[in-house]
């Protein structure tokens, strides 16, 4: 290109007076006519009109132009228009520059024609300087895999996997635990329709397993991860279950085993066997042998015979995917011993209440005793006050808890159980306000406590006595005898340090995954092609989780449904011959786009992964040797523009 003679066409637009009323367009044209390389310099009434565009195309052909500048309105409006025009004329569209002489010049300086004209000349000169140094660029075309990896088999992961597979994409669903469903199957019934959590999961799973383009890996974890948007390479390790047959075949035999381990599915309310299948309908239907807790392998071998295979080894699967959805979910907040009376007999958390109700088939009993009065204490593990810097507290509101507690208390009240609600603010937002209305209308008693004076829970006979100061009744000290205290616990993000490290996605101050931008890109992470869904991003209820899962699936589909993704060519590029490997660019890059690469004959130097580079240019500013530059806006171009614009203007 550098050998070629520069032949530049410059078009200065009147914009029907919008520019020419305040800028002497003729003078601008005169002033730049003599600039080196300028072959055509014209003023046009409306550059964006069809006739003017055709005029540009004709000039390119007639005068053999190889660079074009249009000086008119803001590039936001017509830069793309003229790039298209130039392309139609047979030129590379990036050999074009758009000078803004309307919004930046004529309209801003309606008070001084002379000054505006001078400024317009500077802007056009800078544009000419830019194109003089411009090189043809091609958009980066990246082949993408038509496959998506979904990490997490809760409802978010299931929903996302189902949505993607329906469009024909291949989906790999990886779940760390041995069974799909996440936290949802532990829920007794969920608002607003009162469906059982397990049924919601069952519906999604049964649809999903029908599909032949979905692979589900349970008891599996991500072991390695590399690549970039469109092309990720992932290794998944599937841990052995040690059991080979479906649950139904060995159901009776499992029953003979002793209860040994607190059942995490029931939050420790019950015990489970070393071979377990958490709940009816769990997928897959094959139980798991919990070898870590198994003290007597021989008995099991004897009892189950061929159904058990202790020789099973972890398997590793290699996947190639175009996008990744992370949906690792949450854990319920576990109150500290003594926090709101936790640890006392009769004090349970909301998730435990769900399990109690489910185990009792809807009837609420604790240790065989009938429950008449239940107190819900809200904001346990949420909206906590920070007392010192080191302390890890949950300052956030967990969003779903008021609604959830309200719904389950309406179920309790249907059974004639009295409910008390010890709250800080009732946040039944949106239509959930109806549940609050219903519960209070039916006789639920609401008492507001001050965060500094939390309720105290004492024992009184075989009942519990809850003592609280009620802000709604002029600070009256109240005593409430109840059978059960339910701590309405919030959500904390599921801890997955290894995964975070592998994927290099970051967490916010609240320890949930952080999106790039809560409004513009609410399901995207800073790493292109990795998306987040559900409660790993923020506390959410089922409905909102499903929405965010579909939204993340949508983003993953925009990447993977196409054969190639076209990325703007404005990416950083390293000249390995100059690079002194200061690594400053690597440190500053927010997208992890710069790596060290061994160049043949040169050795280890920095290298930009263009699929990851977003083109911000932060690396350009820190490079000590100017080895790294931005395509489409090189340092040379910037200097040329500065020089051209800084030259004195003589009108």
């Amino acid at each position: 290109m550098s050998e070629e003679e520069l032949r530049i066409g410059v078009y200065v637009c009147h914009c029907g007076g919008n520019i020419s009323d305040y800028v002497d367009v003729k003078k601008v044209v005169e002033a730049i006519k003599g600039e080196p390389g300028v072959v055509v310099a014209k003023d046009v009434m409306f550059a964006c009109s069809d006739s003017s565009q055709n005029e540009i195309i004709n000039d390119v052909k007639e005068h053999n132009l190889n660079r074009v500048v249009v000086a008119s309105c803001s590039p936001k409006l017509h830069e793309l228009t003229f790039r298209e025009t130039v392309k139609r004329a047979g030129l590379n569209p990036y050999l074009y520059y758009h000078a803004n002489i309307r919004e930046h010049v004529s309209w801003a300086h309606t008070d001084t024609r002379e000054g505006a004209t001078e400024k317009a000349i500077r802007h056009v000169r800078a544009a000419i300087a830019y194109v003089r140094n411009a090189k043809p660029l091609e958009p980066i075309r990246q082949k993408t895999m038509h496959a998506v990896l979904v990490i997490g088999g809760g409802i978010a992961g299931l929903r996302a996997a189902l949505d993607l597979s329906r469009t024909g994409l291949n989906v790999y669903l990886v779940e760390r635990s041995p069974f799909l469903g996440g936290r949802t199957p532990q829920l007794y019934r969920v608002y607003p329709d009162g469906r059982r959590g397990a049924d919601i999961v069952k519906d999604l799973v049964s649809e999903l397993i029908r599909r032949d383009n979905v692979a589900i890996y349970t008891n599996a974890e991500i072991k390695s991860f590399s690549g970039y948007i469109g092309n990720f390479e992932v290794e998944v390790e599937i841990k052995p279950r040690y059991i080979k047959v479906p649950y139904d075949e060995i159901k009776e035999k499992i029953k003979e085993l002793p209860d040994e381990i607190p059942d995490e599915f029931n939050y420790g309310l019950t015990k489970r066997k070393v071979i377990y299948y958490p709940y009816e309908g769990a997928f897959p239907r094959i139980p798991v042998l919990d070898l870590d807790h198994c003290s007597d392998v021989e008995t099991i071998k004897e009892l189950l015979g061929d159904a058990v295979d202790l020789e099973q080894k972890p398997e590793t699967v290699k996947l190639k995917v175009g996008a990744v959805i992370v949906a690792t979910g949450f854990d319920p907040y576990e109150p500290k011993e003594g926090e709101f009376g936790y640890g006392r007999q009769g004090v349970v958390t909301l998730p435990q209440l769900h399990r109690l109700m489910d185990l009792g088939n809807g009837e609420l009993k604790l240790n065989g005793r009938e429950i008449r009065d239940v107190a819900f204490v809200y904001c346990v593990g949420s909206r906590q006050k920070k007392s010192s810097e080191e302390e890890e507290v949950n300052e956030y509101c967990s969003r779903y808890c008021c609604n959830a507690a309200m719904y389950i208390s309406s179920l309790l009240m249907e059974q004639g159980i009295r409910t008390y609600h010890i709250f800080r603010d009732i946040r039944t937002y949106g239509r959930h306000e109806r549940m609050y209305d219903e519960v209070s209308r039916k006789g639920g008693i609401f008492i507001k406590y001050n965060e500094d004076e939390p309720p105290e829970i004492e024992e009184e006979g075989d009942k519990l006595l809850l003592k609280v100061k009620d802000l709604l009744t002029a600070g009256e000290q109240l005593e409430i005898p109840v059978d059960l205290v339910v701590l309405v616990t919030g959500m904390v993000p599921r801890k997955t340090p290894e995964l975070d490290e592998l994927l290099r996605i970051s967490r916010g101050r609240d320890r949930f995954y952080v999106e790039v931008h809560p409004k513009l890109r609410p399901v995207e992470t800073a790493i292109g092609g990795i998306f987040i869904a559900g409660a790993c991003q923020a506390p959410r209820d089922i409905c909102e989780t499903l929405s965010s899962a579909s939204a993340a699936a949508s983003k993953a589909a925009t990447v993977t449904l196409r054969d190639v993704i076209e990325l703007e060519p404005f990416k950083a590029e390293v000249d390995p011959n100059i690079c002194d490997l200061s690594k400053k660019c690597i440190e500053i890059c927010p997208y992890e786009a710069i790596e060290i690469k061994n160049y043949e004959g040169i050795g280890e130097k920095a290298w930009v992964n263009k699929a990851k580079c977003m083109g911000c240019g932060a690396c350009v500013a820190v490079c000590p040797t100017e080895a790294i530059q931005l395509n489409g806006l090189t340092n040379e171009q910037i200097r040329a523009m500065i020089e051209a614009a800084g030259k004195e203007v003589i009108i």
């Binding site: 309307r102 801003a108 505006a116 932060a618 500013a621 203007v649």
Partner: protein, 140 residues
């Protein structure tokens, strides 16, 4: 207007998605500011190489104004402010080393509809540069 360059000349670095539209908006509102301001747009204010500032101040410009995105930056979000400020500090040191007053460089966050704030800051900066006079190497 232009009498042998007694008036200062300012280079404004704007950013494609936020502050350049903000300066567009200033025009849309027909708000006036000094004409001796040339606007060069970049993707992000963090791209301003300290050497560019020095280059501008030795090639006809008397001041450099960075219209940054602030925390609205689509690339770096809140980190943009910190990163750009670091570059600013480096640039100011570089200016000092080269005998140029570091006050000739300024930055402000300009949102995409921040017409008034832009006019306010660019006018203030212009006046400041005017008081400093034309660039002279060795002025510090």
């Amino acid at each position: 207007m232009n009498e042998g360059g007694s008036e200062p000349l300012i280079l404004v670095f704007s950013t494609n998605t936020i502050s350049d539209p903000g300066i567009d908006f200033t025009g849309l509102m027909h708000l006036h500011y000094p004409t001796r301001t040339v606007i060069v747009r970049l993707p992000c204010s963090s791209m301003v190489r300290p050497q560019f500032v020095l280059y501008a101040l030795t090639h006809g410009f008397d001041g450099v104004f960075i219209a940054a995105d602030g925390p609205d930056c689509p690339y770096l979000a809140a980190a943009c402010v910190d990163i750009t400020s670091q570059r600013m500090a480096e640039a100011q040191n570089l200016l000092k080393e080269n005998g140029i007053k570091p006050e000739r460089l300024a930055m402000a966050g300009i949102c995409s509809v921040c017409a008034e704030p832009f006019v306010r800051s660019i006018k203030a900066f212009y006046d400041r540069i005017k008081d400093l006079g034309k660039v002279e190497i060795g002025e510090v």
